[in-house]
């Protein structure tokens, strides 16, 4: 009955809002169906489980094997690809390690495939790594057919690190079950041949999986509080001190949960009516050129699992979550699930991480008290991880191979949401007079010396700076693109990209195609340079000068004949007020990449002239004749080119102004005297 009602509602929605239904998909084409039963033994810190996986072959290929991720084996020993044979130092006792064993694997027909399992090492050939498992099937899976397998597994949870494991009796259980990779047929994400995309677990890489239905029964001690992906369907006590919970969700590609005796569970509700004003709906609809119904948001149950010592920071988490649900939802598409679980992790190592309908945030007790409350870490992490519900959760790119598509786009989106909630400032830190905005934070990571890698390469293949190329540079790139195209065009690019690839697996080329289409112009030059290329960008004003245009001297042809003008001869009718000055600005491009740039000339009388340069030459001299002397010149005066690695060299004044120098010299002198005075007192 309930199913019939739901189907009727869905039909009604589709009839009422055909455009909305077409543009913003509300469900994925299910490829997988997971039914998992798992029991946690908190003393042994072990999981034992059964898993039934049904996989649909949506490709036109016959598929003769299945590939699984066994992520927990990344923590098995020091020789895994994850640990990279590093020295792990002291403290690596038995509870440090983690692993997962597939005890048995059978087809629905009962055929035992356990002996057909082999470990694969597609990325680095490391024979000690057991994070990828391949199973040869007795019969290939024909196109459009499906296959079901039954596994039983046993897993040891490691000490909490990389958001997985146990700490002080609390368990963060992520990347814990044998999970299928993604079968990519030829043509998908630029693949030339069909095959399983199933990478090993690296220190710098995340995840990639198919969408489908997850139904998970979790058995834990009855005194544990539990939070998990999806909706809680029922809870049963077995009378022996244990309780079993069933969580279910559709249109997701992963399942994570956490349990512990100390969590404090608090429930709230995000309301599409109360949390968003009619004016905000209208603004969003106008910005995106969508109907009001298309931007309308749904209600969401918010479930917070808090550490007891952080309860006074619940408001900070909650406000940030509401901010995120509102603006990500308005800009990219409504949050489609009924619940969102926010986990305040037990310790460092359990910091921010995203999973479908659940994410971990992170704070510290000190952030409750001045002046530390000016450090907005809880808000930043919450808004960032909530953003991954859209960029990773709903738009499921391959995080191993194209991490920028979720981390970079999400960082850009997160920055915009933080600014939206902060009057446009996006303040990250206000601490003892120091102020650092989100833009400052990312911009200062940029440098002209970052020349070795690009944002478009596998996450594990960076020389250094995975975080810069996956998070920071793409954010700077998208901010620059927004300033170049305008807010409206950029908002529509992001919306269209989300709508088109919601519950699907896009590649970088798909994003570029949407950007070209919506912007109505070819932006390949931009992406080639800043996404695929590794050249940094830096413009500098080398010199500025201004001087009176000298009176003409020499022989001139005039109607009355040749006239010789001498330096001392006065120009007839020329008043001092009419005298012009020539102002020259030398502007240089210090790096290989280029970008069109504006240059603002400001004159002593306040007059301003904006000049445009295509930015292609290595240097250029811009000149302007005007009745006043030049006071200063600024390249990119509005700081639109956020990819520019150094803004300090973008402007130059004609006459030096020593006031900042003297002011801060005085301040430094005073500080040193105070320090000296303190030293004298102490020693």
């Amino acid at each position: 009955m309930i199913k019939a009602r739901m189907a009727f509602s869905a039909c009604l929605m589709a009839l009422c809002f055909p455009a909305a239904a077409a543009r913003l998909p509300d469900r994925a084409e299910a490829v997988v169906n997971y039914r998992i039963q798992v029991r946690l033994d908190p003393k042994a810190r072990q999981l034992s489980g059964q898993e039934r996986i049904t996989w649909r072959n949506l490709s036109g290929d016959e598929v003769s094997e299945l590939w699984f991720h066994l992520y927990l084996n990344a923590f098995k020993n020091s020789r895994t690809t994850f640990y990279g044979n590093r020295s792990l130092g002291p403290g690596t006792d038995g509870s440090f390690w983690g692993w997962v064993d597939v005890v048995s694997l059978r087809l629905d027909t009962g055929a035992d495939l356990t002996k057909r399992m082999t470990f694969e090492h597609p990325d680095d050939g490391n024979i000690h790594d057991q994070t990828v498992l391949r199973v040869k099937l007795p019969q290939p899976v024909p196109p459009r057919a499906q296959i079901s397998v039954n596994l039983s597994f046993r897993a040891q949870l490691p000490e909490l690190r990389f958001r997985t494991g146990h700490k002080d009796g609390t368990f963060m259980v992520a990347q814990w079950f044998p999970k299928l990779g993604v079968y990519e047929p030829a043509g998908m994400r630029g693949q030339t041949t069909g095959g399983w995309n199933c990478h090993q677990f690296h220190a710098h890489s995340e995840f990639y999986a198919d969408y489908g239905h997850y139904s998970t029964e979790i058995t834990v001690p009855s005194n544990f509080r539990l939070g998990a992906t999806g909706q809680l369907k029922w809870k049963k006590d077995n009378g022996q001190g244990e309780s079993t919970y069933l969580f279910e969700e559709d249109n997701i590609h992963d399942f994570a949960w956490t349990a512990g005796p100390d969590y404090v569970v608090i429930k709230r509700k995000f309301s599409g009516r109360a949390d968003v004003s009619p004016a905000e709906y209208r603004q969003a609809a106008a910005l995106l050129d969508r109907s009001l119904d298309e931007v309308r948001l749904s209600d969401v149950d918010l479930i917070f699992l808090m550490q007891p010592g952080h309860l006074d920071q619940l408001d900070r988490y909650e406000n940030a979550t509401r901010l995120a649900l509102k603006w990500y939802g308005l800009w990219y598409g409504r949050y489609p699930y009924r619940t969102l679980t926010i986990v305040d992790p037990v310790a460092v190592g359990g910091g921010g991480m995203e999973y479908p309908t659940l994410f971990t945030a992170g704070t510290n007790r000190w952030f409750s008290y001045p002046p530390f409350d000016g450090i907005r870490l809880p808000e930043i992490v919450t808004v960032h991880e909530a953003g991954h519900q859209w960029w990773y959760g709903m738009v499921g790119n391959n995080e191993f191979e194209e991490a920028w598509l979720d981390e970079g786009i999400n960082s850009y989106s997160c920055g915009r949401v933080l600014e939206q909630g902060d009057g446009g400032r996006g303040m990250l830190v206000e601490f003892l007079g120091l102020e650092v905005t989100e833009l400052d934070f990312i911009r200062l990571q940029n440098s002209p010396f970052r020349i070795y890698d690009t944002s478009l390469q596998p996450a594990w293949s960076y020389r250094s700076g995975y975080s810069f190329y996956s998070y920071t540079k793409p954010e700077l790139m998208l901010r620059t693109l927004e300033n170049h195209l305008g807010k409206r065009a950029m908002a529509r690019i992001m919306r269209t990209y989300h709508e088109r690839w919601r519950f699907r697996h896009p590649g970088s080329q798909d994003f570029i195609a949407v950007a070209n289409e919506v912007a109505g112009r070819d932006l390949s030059w931009f992406f080639d340079r800043f996404l695929k290329g590794n050249a940094p960008l830096d413009y500098q004003i080398l010199a500025v000068s201004t001087f009176p245009i000298p009176d003409p001297v020499g022989v001139f042809d005039r109607p009355q004949g040749k006239v010789t003008l001498r330096p001392e001869s006065k120009q007839p009718g020329t008043k001092p007020s009419q005298r012009k000055f020539r102002s020259e600005v030398q502007l240089a491009r210090n790096t290989a990449a280029w970008f069109p740039i504006d240059v603002l000339l400001t004159f002593e009388d306040g007059h301003k002239v904006l000049k445009h340069w295509d930015g292609k030459a290595r240097w250029i001299t811009l000149s302007e004749d005007y009745t006043s002397r030049l006071a200063m010149a600024e390249a990119d005066p509005g700081h639109k080119i956020e990819l520019d690695a150094n803004w300090a060299n973008n402007g130059r004044m004609v006459k030096p102004d020593a006031r900042p120098q003297v002011k801060w010299f005085s301040q430094v002198l005073f500080s040193l005297q105070a320090l000296l005075s303190l030293i004298s007192l102490l020693v």
């Binding site: 700490k167 002080d168 550490q307 010592g309 310790a347 510290n364 007790r365 000190w366 409750s368 008290y369 007079g433 120091l434 102020e435 650092v436 400052d440 911009r443 200062l444 440098s447 200063m632 010149a633 600024e634 150094n646 803004w647 300090a648 060299n649 973008n650 402007g651 130059r652 004044m653 030096p656 102004d657 020593a658 006031r659 900042p660 120098q661 003297v662 002011k663 801060w664 010299f665 005085s666 301040q667 430094v668 002198l669 005073f670 040193l672 005297q673 105070a674 320090l675 000296l676 005075s677 030293i679 004298s680 007192l681 102490l682 020693v683």
Partner: protein, 302 residues
Amino acid sequence: MTMCTLQALKKGLNDIAVHKGVVFILWLTDLLLALAVALPVFGWLGRMNRTVAAQSMLNGFSLPLLFDLGRYDFAGVVRIFGALACWLVFCALVAGTMVSGGVLAVLAAPGRQPLFEHFLRGAGRYFGRFFRLLIGACLAAGLVLVAINLALAVVIERVFGGGSELSPAVVLGQVAVNLVIGTAFLLALHYARIETVVEGRSRMARAYVRSLVFVYRNILKVFAVIVVFAALTGAVYLVYAVVRSAMPTTTWLFILSLTAIQQTVMLARSAFRVGLYGAELELFLLRRPKPPEPLSTLPPAP
């Protein structure tokens, strides 16, 4: 607060008025020492003179701008910070020791002229002894603090569990314990120096141990003296902070006024340092262990 402490404080404050010359010497010494590092910084800051973005530094402080200016002149920044580190070591080991010798010599035997020569003679005369005292006091304080923190770590581990996020109260408690013990050792150093000047001691280890005992026996009094002067200094800084926050610094007049205010604050700070030396000296004279009574002379044998 006992009469003894009040008398010491009164004497200390009175010394500020009496020894204005010492206050001036102290201020001037600090200024000259600070200029040794501040002048290279002044040169480095000159790069802001033609930078448009540096105008934002007139209204406030821009960490991103300084970061941008600094990271493209890394060698310059390293030079400045290297100089700063050397300067700190020099000030800690040499300048501070000499200054305290000079000030105590003048306060313990006032009236000798010329003042500057008297100050320098004191600085030179006591430098060696004060230096040994300083090294000994640092070693003693370091060892004791390490031992106490190791013990605290064990206690905290047992009570709150290993690796857990400690509550601010526990961390603050730990800091307070360190602060009190550290200050006690610091005060012992002050009183050992005073004893050296007053009684002409030359065996510094013994002097320091005696001072530790002195501090232990007069713990409230010695803490009261330093807390009062710390509070006075804090009040001056507070007034400065209020004035500073209300004062625009965009014009030359305001910038030069700010410099004048800052140097006035430093002058007051030097005055309180002289006052502290004076009060501690007085407290020592009032509370120092009495020398044993001389044996009464027996009448000569008939």
